[in-house]
Structure formats: C-alpha cells, structure tokens
C-alpha cells in the first residue's frame, strides 16, 4: 500500500478512536454536588409542563443538603421504566400515567408506600378522596399525584347568545343540551358542515368513556366485563345521534379540517366548534391562542333519566411512583413528599395550569391561577358522579376496543350500536377471564414459595 492509503487509514483510525472516546465519555452521568446523593427522576412531560416540574425540582434541590434530584425528560417513558425496572436499574422516581395505575399495580412495578406513609404521617384527609383512592391498588398505596385533572363542558358564550341561548344559564340535562348543540350546527347547501354546536369526538380523547356519562360500569369488580350493558348501549346511541344528524361523512371531513389541539386552529379556540368536552388545562391554551374568546365552563350535562349523574366529570391524574428496586428509596420519598406539600404542589399545578389534588388551597393559588374557573374544576373532583380510570390492568385494552366501537358506530355505515357492543364484550370477556386465571396461578405460586 502506498503512503496516501496509509495516511488515510491512520486518519480513519484516529477518528474511530476519537468517536469511541467521545461516546464513552459523554454517557457518564454528571456527578451530584459534593456530598449529596443523586436521585434520578424520569418525567414524561416536555415543554411548559416540564418547565413547571423543573421549577419544583430546583426548589427542592435548593432546600436540601442531603439529596440532589436529577430530572430527565423521557419519551416512551412507560416502556423505558418497565425495561429498566426488570433489568434492576430503575430510576428512583418515575412520573407516569394515572390511567395505567392498575397495570403498574398488577405488574408490581411500583414499591408499596404504606410503611412510609404511616411512618411520616401522610394523611388521606388532606387529599380529595378521588385522588387518594386513585393512588391505591388492592389495599396498597403505590402512587401519589403529580398533577390532577377533571373535565367540564366548555362553551363559546358569544355563539350561544347569537343562537338565542343564555350562556349564564347552561343546561343541566343532555336533552336540553342536544337541542342547543343541534341548533348551532351550520351546514352548506350541499351538506358540508361549517360549524358544529358540539361533537362528541372533538377532541376525541374520551371516545371510550361516554358509557360512564350514562352511569355504565365497565367492569363488575369481579370476573365480568359490562361492555354491552343497557347504559352503555344508551350512551353510544346518544353518540350516534350526533353523527346521524350531521351525516358521518360531513363530520369526518369537518374534523379533518380542524387544526391540531394546541394551535389557534383548534376547533373550539377558532370558534368553529361551539361547545367541547375539555379539561382543566384548556383555559391556559385558550389564553395562548385566542385570549379574546368569550368562553365559560360548566359541569357536563347528564341524562335527564339519571339525576345521580349530575356533575359528571372524568377525573384523572399524573402520578409519581418509586419503581421496585430503586436504589435511593429514602431520597425518592423525600422528593415525593416535597411535591405533595402544599407549597410544592401549588407551584407545580400553577405552572401546569391545573387545580390541586389537595383539599386545602391557598388564597394566592386561587388568585394567581390562569384558569378563571379553576374553582369549578377543583370542585368537580369531589363529585360522586366523577369517573376515574377503571382499576383493571386490561383497562388500556378496553379503552382501545371502546374507541374502535366509537369509530364503527360513527363511521359511514353507522353500524348498529348493540351489535357492535356485543362484539366488544365477546372479544374482551375471555381476555379478562384469562387474566384472572393467570393472576390466581401467580398468587398460588407466591403462596407456595412463601410457605
């Protein structure tokens, strides 16, 4: 080989070893400040929600001389936490989804916290019962809220007034509400929808959940799913009414024309959809994209035949857990406790524009909050009719199936609701039975090993 070839080869070799050096060096985590223990914390949020959490972390770090929380924003967090926990190298704290609590519980992902709760005197009475309850799985407390959520009907007051409806006197029942919604639909001569009074699938985040509005339970708590109960059928027939009234094609074309959620072209913020089901965070986005919008929020109307459903809301929360096998349980717990303190929680929930899961609220929190109706959302969480994620580890699968039910019964063929729900029930019931069978087998195995 001639000299040039050798020179090129040598250069490549140098680059090669430099690359190895770089990758080895950069992957080493930064050490915690002198004399402090590093607590790794993985969080799912990005953007302003992440910033809000980061502020809380900074506050905590300033207050500490023992622990130092290193927060990392992680995408695809559930898988990553699961894989690293099974590999024995989990983060010390993980910020996960409340809707999947039962799954985490059934997997044994989270370390039960009852001993620490008792030792340090954390009290259930300090929490809105729904949020305390959501942290529990089968008699054990495994998660604490990071931020909570509830939903309500959001409506465009100007639109309602223009249609002859009083925005200061929102309807209590679905029947009254349907009339308003239908009256506010605007169509062109050739059947195109220009403006919608209300669409159950805008934004489409709760397509699985309308059964709950009619009081349907998804699971009897034992070995039976209740996906084709009379309440469920009634609920999706109510949904289908909207798509039949407007025309399924017109709805999907209209929806395709709406901008993404977080944009000024969002259906509600642009004034194209007069009323939506939305959560506590909505006010913040309205302020960002269309601060002049004249809007109100009220509890979502309930079916007239079901007065017990008054004040219906989807209640949900983001959670903090300590994964099984975490190295620094004490430090992790110290951080979680700080987030649970009124100071930490209000800082976080102000930044994320949500209400607090705690019963006690400071006056500054109410006064400074970005959502003018924040008290409504806080109060919603206390309602008896509030619907929390079902505590069944196959809940995500049920949600998926119910979303598919929604699509089928609202599609071009307007599939028969009862038949489609029967199929959903038939498909998932055996899966539940299998899950319970395996769980019993596992419990028996554990008992044998214990004995």
């Amino acid at each position: 080989m001639n000299r040039i070839t050798w020179a090129v080869a040598a250069l490549l070799a140098v680059v090669f070893f430099l690359s190895i050096g770089h990758t080895e060096q950069v992957a080493k985590p930064e050490p915690a400040p002198e004399g402090r223990i590093r607590i790794t914390y993985w969080e799912k949020w990005t953007n302003f929600e992440e910033q809000a959490m980061r502020e809380v972390v900074n506050k905590f770090n300033e207050s500490q001389d023992k622990y130092f929380v290193d927060m990392l924003s992680v995408s695809g967090i559930t898988n990553k936490v699961l894989l690293s926990t099974s590999g024995g190298i989990p983060p010390d704290v993980a910020g996960l989804f409340g809707a999947q609590m039962a799954q985490y519980g059934a997997l044994g992902l989270a370390r039960p916290l009852d001993d620490l709760i008792e030792r340090d005197g954390i009290r259930a009475e300090d929490y809105i019962p729904a949020y305390w309850e959501m942290g529990r799985y089968e008699d054990r407390h495994i998660a604490f809220p990071s931020t909570p959520a509830t939903t309500a009907l959001h409506y465009n007051a100007a639109d309602w007034r223009a249609g002859g409806f009083d925005p200061d006197n929102p309807p209590k029942t679905l029947e009254e509400f349907d009339k308003i919604a239908f009256a506010l639909n605007k169509k062109t001569a050739d059947g195109k929808l220009q403006k919608a009074g209300f669409l159950p699938n805008e934004p489409g985040w709760w397509n699985f959940g309308f059964g709950a509005l009619f009081g349907a339970k998804y699971w009897d708590g034992g070995d039976k799913l209740l996906l084709n109960s009379p309440e469920m059928i009634e609920a999706y027939e109510w949904v289908q009414k909207y798509h039949r009234e407007i025309g399924p094609g017109a709805v999907s074309n209209f929806k395709g024309g709406l901008g993404t959620f977080d944009s000024p072209q969002n259906g509600f913020m642009s004034g194209t959809v007069s009323s939506v089901l939305q959560g506590v965070w909505m006010a913040n986005f309205i302020q960002m994209h269309n601060p002049d919008l004249d809007w109100r929020a009220a509890p979502f109307p309930h079916p007239a035949s079901k007065p017990e459903m008054e004040g219906f809301t989807f209640v949900d929360m983001d959670i903090l857990i300590i994964p099984r096998g975490a190295k620094n349980v004490e430090g992790a717990w110290e951080f979680i406790k700080y987030v649970q303190s009124q100071e930490g929680m209000e800082l976080l929930c102000t930044g994320q524009a949500k209400h607090t899961p705690l019963v006690k609220v400071s006056d500054e929190f109410w006064a400074n909050h970005k959502n003018p109706q924040i008290k409504l959302f806080h109060a919603q969480a206390f309602n008896e009719a509030a619907f929390a994620p079902v505590k069944l580890s196959m809940w995500p699968e049920i949600q998926g199936e119910m979303n598919a039910v929604y699509e089928a019964i609202s599609g071009p063929e307007l599939v028969n609701v009862t038949e489609r729900l029967n199929r959903a029930q038939e498909r998932l019931q055996p899966l539940l039975e299998k899950e319970l069978r395996i769980r019993r087998a596992r419990e028996a195995m554990a008992k044998e090993n214990g004995a």
Binding site: L82, S252, N253, G256, A404, A408
Partner: protein, 292 residues
Amino acid sequence: MKKASKETIAGLAFASPWIIGFCVFLAYPLLQALYLSLTDYNTLNAPVWVGFDNYIDLFKDELFHKSLVNTFSFAAFSLPLSMIFGISLALLLNNQVKGLSLYRAIFYVPSLVPMISLAMLWLWLFNGDYGIINIALKGIGISNPPLWLSDANWSKPALVVMSLWGVGNAMVIYLAGLQNVPVSLYESAELDGAGPFRKIWLVTLPLLSPVIQFNLIMGIIGSLQVFALPYVMFPGGAPDRATYFFAMYLWDSAFVNQRMGYASAMGWVMFLMIFALTMVSIKLSDKGVHYS
C-alpha cells in the same frame, strides 16, 4: 482436498463476525422469545408456563385475524406496485440524461424525511375537503371523491399510495445494480436492432435479476411488517381498525397490554409465515435469476 479445507477455513474466518453476532444478538433472544411464547409473561414477573395456550388463543382471536387480513391485503397491493415503480424509476434514471444526479437525489428525499413530518403532510394531503388530492379529483370531474383516511374502505389504498413515495431506498439499490450491466451488452443488442423496450427486456432485467430478487424478498419482509407510518398516523388503526396491522397489534400486545408471552407467540407465528412465504418466493424466483 487440501484446497477445499483451506477454503472452508477462510470462509468461516470471513464469516466469523456474523457467526458470533448471529448467536449472541439474534439466536439467543429469538430462542428466549420462543420460550416466552409458551408462558404468560409481563417483563416484571417471572414467566408462568402455559404450554400452547397463547397459540390456541391466537387462532381464536378475532383481532388477530383482522390484523392479518389487513396486513396481507396491504402487502398484496403495495409490494408489486412499488417494485414496478422502483424499477421504472431506476430505468428512467439510468438513461444518460442531464441533471441525473439532481433527479436521483429528489427521488430519494422522501426516504430521508423524518416520519413525523411525513405523517403530518399526508394527513392534510388526503383530507376530504381541503386535501390537494381531492381538490384535484374534483377538478377532473369526480364530484364525490372518497374520504380516504376517515373511510375504512379507502384508508388502506391511501397507505399504499404513501408507500410508493418511499420507493427511494429500493431505487438506489436498483441503480447500483444497473451500474453492473456492461454498456457493451447494450451496444451489441442495439446492433441486433433491439428497441429500447426489447433492450430492457433482453439485457437489463436478466442482469438485474439478483437485485430484483433481493428487493422482492426485502419487500415481502418489509410490507408484512409495516408499522411506523400507520402507527403514527392511525392511532389504534382508525377508522374502525381498517389500518390495524399485524405489527401494530404485536407492539400493543407487548408494550401497551403487557402480554409479552402472547406477543412472542404472535412474533413467532408471523416469523414462520414470512419465512415460508419468502422461501417459496426464492424457490419460484430463483429460476428467473441470472447469476454470472
């Protein structure tokens, strides 16, 4: 005899990185997955032996059937179309036209664009009211064009069209293959009075056949494992699971529903199906493949 054994030693030496890599990074995890497919397993808890239960359940699973039908019908259209399209593009580019390198880069670009950007773009191109595709269709007198992505009957064809856009990778392989076709063969065919199409048929395609076979096999494997784009564009296979493909169901089973054992069984069933199909296509296409 001596020569043969020397060649054997050389052969094994040259192949040794792969032999190690195969055993450690593929065979071991694959066998692990085979074992897991006979258990109930969820990453965090020790597997519980269930025998062939997962496989039996699979054959009764309505959603599994649906995802299989979706996957195979997508592949049946997307594969032949993208092969024809890819070869045609490569042949067009193989003419010594001006601006060749620019064209080549342009056709390759969509294969480089990040998935998220592609998905967003397609979502509005196919929109029933505002999408450019339907505006064009209305322009040529089709008054009632399909709703594409929100119509369960049309979302798959739309996905086939999208897959044609990603033909750049295959095209680059064809082009590299075409470089191996000696110019002299064209010249002699031309002297024999062959026109452009006969030249392609008699000279180019036979010499390109190993590469075509390669792309055929990769196409079968790729289209039956279609995952990323529909997963980003159609959460849950919407509308009504018309675009719920096999690999999506597998992913959901493993990482959303936490049924690793079941997902492993699905993986093995799919693996065997693709394997059988590939072997058949290799056997069938080998007759037409020309090695020098």
